[in-house]
């Protein structure tokens, strides 16, 4: 149980086999939302058990466990075997961990959680033309020349699809590039080289996922 004197924090455990650097991303996510975190001892090799133990040891009842291929968010009152969220990395471990940190903090703040696939913000459905141009520009400035080409090629006929394609290839390029760059200590630099931030990657991926779901198309 938590000590009375202890500062209230979100407790984060790094399970054996997980990359310790991912803790920084959880911390950044929580920091932007204004909630402190603490690195806790992993009580178990199992990521769900570790998350539950972290939640029990937290004075604000929220625990996170970073696993080898998924991150788990847990809360004290949940049944131990049923975490609040389990999010697999799927090649985007840093973005996933940052979002998990933000979500842990949002649970403390009682704010709605962020979900990758929830395309619910009005301003994402109706994006002004200038922003679309900006997206296309950033796609063009990224090494993905094909992205810009497909945008141009589609410019007249089906602008919406053209944009989707441009964004799709931009997103693809960043994930690839990203994977290649994960060895670097600050992956933010990888993103900056691509003229794209984590948030933007997240957003683009979100849009692409929504499009794939809608059309059932396979992006390769």
């Amino acid at each position: 149980m938590a000590e009375k004197s202890e500062r209230p924090t979100i407790n984060v455990a790094v399970v054996r086999g997980a990359a310790p650097s991912l803790y920084d991303w959880v911390l950044i996510g929580a920091e932007e939302e204004g909630v402190p975190t603490k690195l806790a001892e992993a009580a178990s090799g199992d990521v769900v058990d570790a998350a539950y133990a972290a939640a029990i040891s937290s004075r604000i009842d929220i625990g996170v466990a970073i696993g080898a291929d998924a991150i788990v968010l847990h809360e004290r009152h949940m049944p131990p075997e049923k975490p609040v969220l389990t999010i697999p990395y799927e090649g985007k471990s840093e973005a996933v961990c940052r979002r998990a940190g933000a979500n842990a903090a949002r649970m403390v703040a009682r704010l709605p959680l962020l979900f990758e696939d929830a395309v619910e913000d009005v301003d994402e459905q109706v994006r002004p033309a200038s922003e679309r141009r900006a997206a296309a520009r950033s796609a063009a400035s990224a090494p993905a020349k094909t992205a810009a080409a497909s945008w141009d090629g589609n410019g007249g006929g089906m602008p919406a699809q053209g944009q989707a394609r441009a964004e799709g290839s931009a997103a693809r390029t960043c994930t690839n590039q990203h994977a290649a760059e994960t060895a670097r200590p600050t992956a933010g630099e990888a993103a900056s080289q691509l003229a794209l931030s984590e948030a933007e990657i997240r957003k683009i991926v979100k849009i692409v996922v929504a499009i794939i779901k809608e059309r059932g198309t396979q992006w390769r």
Partner: protein, 612 residues
């Protein structure tokens, strides 16, 4: 013989199926049904909906369609309504000169004034002038913080920052001094560089003070009184936000443009009154009262309202296949509202609340249409179809099946398209009135005021109208509108966490907006008050003896919107001032406020048959 009474409404088609025995005998009701109306009320497109409603009813009774001997239609449901809404003001920024928004988490605190510089120019920036750094997404927060900190150490007077990514707090936490930082500015490449700007971030739970005050902006930028009047719309749009940026560009010009809203010409039987739209809904309704009874309405051509009235007329003309010049608007209901509109020229997709007027209009149809419909239905079913009595009389007859009700009686029919009232007194004919605006208008107001997805997706607004709200406070409990708390055994879906949700029959359904529960509730109740309560008062005073509502003792509420969970309560509160008792009808002692007209048609037929 088996008789089916059919009432086609704006949104639902209701059926009452009964066995009518000996002439003058009491009909034995077998089944009732309620299905969505297909097409616009009073047109041939209604036939499929009627057939479906009849099928549902016969199934309930264990019969087949062929067993029905006679179908009764209400006579020329006399009115069809349409609704429209137009904004009458619009904020336009001709040069980008303000960013005012509520990012989830702006960084730092306070107010900073300086000249905008790209972060890459900080290394060479002069140390003798105040500077606001503009940070595109290409700089992640560690790098941006390092560059800002280095510049500050070198003696550059950095007073604030404008950041594209969601990194405001992260950057602020990594700086040697506290700076206001506005983040999530999406169109950062449109922020002009080398311009004087001001950035303000308020503390948690507070809103900005200086930039939402026109004289505050004037002080910061040393504006003349003439220039100060120009920036009033900016200050207005920034009220209540936690963070904002105002940039002074030489050609910068923000203005509230008044769209020529035009005026409505209300042509009454005795006099004609002009009502300018921009004087608001109350002025229009006053003018309407002066022109009553109304013969037609015209909108000033070349203006918004002109377009609106022309659209209503065109829809009706297409439907009734009458020339538009012969379509007459018999009633309008105008409602003021404030709708969020995207500011054209804003940099962070700002919204500004603009004045708008919603208008519900009503057009008389003619009997011919209903006869065509009866003919079409007869062809489809092969069953004899008759036009029954006047709708208001039928509604009263049906309502009288409510236990405990007797004449004299007034009924208030709250439907989807129109609000109707009828009164029955001893030894007098039934008097009735049909007014524009009911449930659909409420849905439109909710949709527009909360900026919910529109068009065919008014679903969310419709649901908000129908169901009470809760706020999901933890994974195990929700708080209701009345502040009571309800706990759950099983944890809720994490997607509901922290959200405002609706209690629907299928469980909790999250509302996809960022509005608070209080705001949604206020908008919902206000919309109902401005449509239902207002129309109820208008309708009752139109039918009351000598126009005096006090003369009415009992009012029974019928119609689909009578099922609403709070309207009856609102009406009770309002009518209490007049000493009038109001209650929701319970047709045939079991159906609640619906099926009044359909039931009345059957009763009237049975009685009529007895007289023959």
């Amino acid at each position: 013989m088996k008789v089916a009474g059919v009432d086609i409404g704006n949104s639902t088609t209701e059926v009452a199926l009964a066995e009518v025995g000996a002439p003058g005998g009491v009909p034995n009701f077998l089944a009732s049904s309620r299905m969505p109306t297909t097409g616009i009320k009073g047109t041939l497109a209604n036939v499929p909906g009627v057939v479906r409603a009849l099928e549902t009813a016969v199934q309930q009774a264990g019969l087949a369609l062929g067993d029905i001997d006679l179908v009764l239609l209400n006579e020329a449901t006399p009115v069809i309504g349409d609704i429209a809404m137009e904004t009458i003001t619009e904020t336009i920024i001709t040069e980008s000169s303000m960013i005012g928004h509520n990012p989830n988490s702006p960084g730092g605190l306070g107010i900073g004034v300086g000249v905008t510089h790209d972060i890459s120019e900080l290394e060479t920036a002069p140390t003798d002038e105040a500077i606001i750094a503009v940070v595109p997404k290409t700089y992640d927060f560690t790098r941006a913080a390092q560059m800002l900190a280095a510049a500050i150490e070198r003696g550059v007077d950095v007073t604030a920052a404008i950041v594209q990514g969601d990194d405001g707090v992260l950057i602020a936490n990594r700086l040697p001094k506290k700076l206001p930082i506005v983040d999530e500015v999406k169109l950062i490449d449109q922020v002009p560089l080398g311009m004087l700007a001001a950035v303000e971030v308020a503390d948690h739970g507070q809103s900005i003070q200086q930039l939402s005050n026109p004289y505050g902006i004037a002080t910061l930028f040393k504006l003349t009184p003439q220039e100060t009047t120009m920036i009033i719309p900016i200050a207005k749009a920034l009220i209540g936000l936690r963070s904002a940026v105002v940039i002074r560009t030489p050609a910068g010009d923000v203005q509230t443009r008044h769209i020529p809203a035009g005026s409505l010409k209300l042509i009454g039987e005795r006099r004609t009154v002009d009502a300018p739209m921009d004087s608001g809904a109350d002025a229009i309704m006053d003018a309407l009262a002066q022109a009553f009874p109304l013969k037609d309405v015209e909108g000033e051509s070349g203006t918004n309202v002109g377009g609106m009235v022309a659209r209503v007329r065109q829809t009706m003309s297409n439907m009734t296949k009458k020339p538009a010049s012969e379509v007459h608007i018999r009633d309008v209901l105008a409602v003021d509202c404030l709708v969020p509109q995207r500011v054209s020229g804003g940099l962070a997709q700002e919204f500004s609340m603009e004045n708008a007027v919603g208008l519900a209009a009503m057009v008389n149809t003619d009997k011919l249409l209903m006869e065509q419909l009866a003919e079409g239905l007869h062809k489809e079913l092969g069953i004899k179809v008759q036009l029954g009595g006047v709708e208001a009389n039928m509604a009263i007859l049906g309502t009288l099946t409510t236990p405990g009700l007797d004449t004299p009686l007034a009924i208030l029919d709250l439907g989807a398209g129109s609000t109707d009232a009828a009164i029955l007194e001893k030894d007098r004919d039934v008097r009735s009135v049909h007014l524009a605006g009911a449930g659909d208008m409420v849905t439109l107001l909710i949709q527009r005021e909360l900026d919910l997805p529109g068009g065919n997706e008014t679903d969310v607004a419709e649901q908000i109208k129908r169901f009470p709200l809760v706020r999901v406070e933890s994974l195990f409990h929700v708080r209701h509108e009345d502040n009571t708390v309800r706990f759950f055994e099983e944890p809720l879906d994490p997607k509901l966490f922290g959200r405002v949700a609706l209690i629907t029959p299928d469980g909790l359904s999250p509302i996809p907006t960022h509005h608070t529960l209080d705001r949604i509730r206020e908008v919902r109740r206000e919309a109902k008050r401005r449509v239902f309560v207002r129309n109820a008062m208008r309708a009752l005073s139109a039918v009351a003896p000598a126009g005096n509502i006090r003369e009415i003792q009992f009012v029974a509420v019928v119609g689909g919107s009578g099922l609403d969970f709070e309207v009856a309560r609102m009406l009770t509160d309002q009518l209490a001032h007049y000493g009038t008792v109001i209650g929701t009808a319970n047709i045939r002692g079991s159906l609640g406020p619906v099926n009044a007209v359909a039931t009345g048609l059957v009763l009237s037929h049975a009685r009529h048959q007895g007289a023959v």
